[in-house]
């Protein structure tokens, strides 16, 4: 009989692997999610008959599952597309906390002298799970703008974090060696929670997707450690899969931003002062605005136009309007392409999703590497609700939070048109010199409105 359950867990693990494989290609990704969910159902189905319920146990499971399922479903359904990253952060934090709590409960069960083979993974799970929980909450707060998205730093921060980590390490040793301190793991948990907060505070909001992916890997490893404690194959394999793939994904994501992981996590230390200094003394510069008619003429008589979409396009839901404009220009013989920066928008792939929704032909969407050499041949670059992804500070201002990120070479085009509502900075919270460039023309207003007006004007031109 236990063989039967073991095979069910194995099947669940296989379904997780197959699901992940399918998730790696856009064609099969949705099926992959179903496959993984099926694995989850099987793993849970194999668990329930093995449980010995107390009356209280049965009750809290019933209540807990109902509440959790309701919260999860409602949260996942209600969330706006632009808020998905913070939603993922919350769910991830929930998983990390659950892993830590399971480990605590196991240690409580073993009493004062748990065997080392149980205590070691439990303690690991408590620490990592707690860091993941606290870190995810901070990431959520940053993304949801409950707190500032800019890095929070102070002198000696690295020392403090180092001491915190050392204290946790010492505590772990103590717990493992002496093991009889009652509730010592609560103190451990507390320290780990503080470390989680301290770890994410100095990281800028723009880097949160990378951080969430890393914390995701952490939770995976915490779950795997719980699997060691509970001797549960499914937990070990599923947790390890997430840990390994999450680590790799973190690396892939920071690579896509052109930065090392170390730079993402620890890059902010001692830098903010420099930025503040650099940003000063730039007030009072003038910007050039253009009328819709002028811009329509400029566009209609260009040969090559490149559109740079950004977060503002998503906010304004202007994807259909931008396509209409592009179609119109193409009909007049203008060559139109879209330059898609890997981190434009608020999640990787955000712009692809959005423009696909408007049925923009796949061939017109160009990745950054593909199109960056074409900007110098472009007559007009139309920057629609983007900002950071064309900010030359990434190249020129060493202290800037986005310094080192590869950007689109919009500044090389003959004319640059910015469609945004104000001079306010973008996600990274820093000024954009390109707005003051003599080649730049601003068209202030909501992106959808501006585009709709442009469409009419181009038709008239």
């Amino acid at each position: 009989m236990s063989l039967f359950y073991a095979l069910a867990y194995l099947l669940a693990a296989v379904l997780f692997i197959l699901g992940l494989k399918q998730l790696s290609s856009p064609k099969t990704a949705r099926n992959g999610n179903f496959t993984a969910a099926a694995g989850m159902v099987i793993a849970l189905g194999a668990t329930v008959p093995q449980l010995h319920f107390t009356a209280a146990g049965a009750l809290i499971i019933l209540i807990g599952v109902v509440i959790g399922a309701a919260v999860g479903t409602i949260g996942a359904r209600q969330v706006k597309m632009t808020q998905i990253p913070q939603m993922v952060a919350l769910f991830n934090g929930a998983g990390g906390a659950a892993a830590a709590l399971v480990a605590v409960a196991e240690l409580v069960k073993f009493g004062a002298h748990p065997p080392l083979t149980e205590a070691l993974p439990s303690v690991f799970s408590i620490v990592i799970g707690s860091v993941s929980f606290a870190g995810s909450l901070v990431a959520f707060a940053k993304l949801q703008e409950l707190m500032t998205g800019t890095p929070i730093t102070y002198p000696g921060q690295q020392l403090v974090n180092g001491l915190l980590a050392a204290a946790i390490f010492g505590f772990v040793i103590a717990v493992l060696a002496i093991a009889s301190i009652p509730f010592s793991f609560l103190a451990l948990m507390l320290l780990a929670l503080i470390l989680g907060v301290a770890f994410v505070l100095p990281i800028g909001g723009a880097d949160m997707p990378v951080v969430i992916s890393l914390l995701n890997a952490f939770t995976g490893l915490a779950v795997a450690a719980s699997g060691f404690t509970l001797n549960n194959f499914a937990l070990i394999v599923a947790g390890t899969l997430v840990g390994a793939s999450g680590s790799l994904l973190t690396k892939l994501m920071s690579d896509a931003m052109g930065r090392s992981l170390g730079n993402v996590l620890f890059g902010a230390f001692g830098k903010v002062q420099a930025v503040a200094g650099a940003a000063a003394g730039k007030e009072g510069r003038t910007v050039r605005t253009g009328s819709v008619e002028d811009l329509a003429t400029l566009l209609a008589y260009s040969r090559r136009v490149i559109i740079v979409p950004g977060y503002g396009l998503a906010v304004a839901q202007a994807q259909h309007a931008v396509r209409e404009l592009a179609d119109l220009l193409e009909k007049r013989g203008v060559e139109v392409n879209y330059a898609i920066h890997p981190v434009a928008g608020r999640m990787p792939g955000h712009m692809n999703v959005l423009l696909a929704e408007a049925n923009v032909p796949y061939e017109q969407l160009k990745e950054m590497d593909e199109i960056n050499d074409e900007f110098k041949n472009a007559d007009v670059v139309l920057v629609v609700g983007a900002n950071d992804v064309v900010n030359p500070a990434a190249r020129n201002t060493p202290g800037s939070p986005i310094y080192g990120m590869p950007i689109l070479n919009a500044d090389q085009a003959k004319n640059i048109v910015f469609m945004k509502r104000s001079m306010r900075p973008g996600f990274a919270g820093i000024d954009n010199d390109l707005l003051y460039d003599p080649k730049t023309i601003m068209l202030f207003g909501d992106a959808k409105d501006s585009l709709t007006k442009l469409v009419s004007a181009v038709k008239a031109a």
């Binding site: 989850m40 329930v48 499971i61 399971v102 995701n216 915490a222 549960n232 937990l235 193409e330 999703v353």
Partner: protein, 105 residues
């Protein structure tokens, strides 16, 4: 280190390789759904939460169990649902890809 722990360690090592190999070469476009999909998978901690909750009797274990079950269930259910919502949007792209893209008239 007993033989059970050894086997578990072996599973761990092999799963590391599987995880890394499966994820390498994912296009940037899919990073978010993949992150959210793996996020749902580690909700398997619900299995652990069920184990500790089922046997709960003292107030401490009851509270621990209840909180763990709520959190883990949220992770599982929310994770899969939000991933599905996200991937649903990729439909648009797919039609564009498989059909000949509609040339603007």
């Amino acid at each position: 280190m007993n033989s059970e722990l050894l086997n578990e360690f072996t599973f761990f090592v092999l799963a590391v390789f599987v995880g890394i190999e499966v994820i390498s070469k994912v296009p940037t476009m899919l990073h978010t759904p993949l992150m959210s999909g793996t996020n749902a998978i580690h909700g398997i901690i619900l299995v652990g939460a069920l184990v500790i909750a089922a046997g709960a009797s003292s107030p401490v274990t009851i509270i621990l169990g209840l909180v763990a079950v709520v959190l883990a269930t949220t992770n599982v259910v929310g994770g899969f649902v939000v991933t599905d919502r996200m991937l649903e949007m990729f439909k648009g792209r797919q039609t564009t890809r498989t059909q000949e893209p509609v040339k603007p008239k």
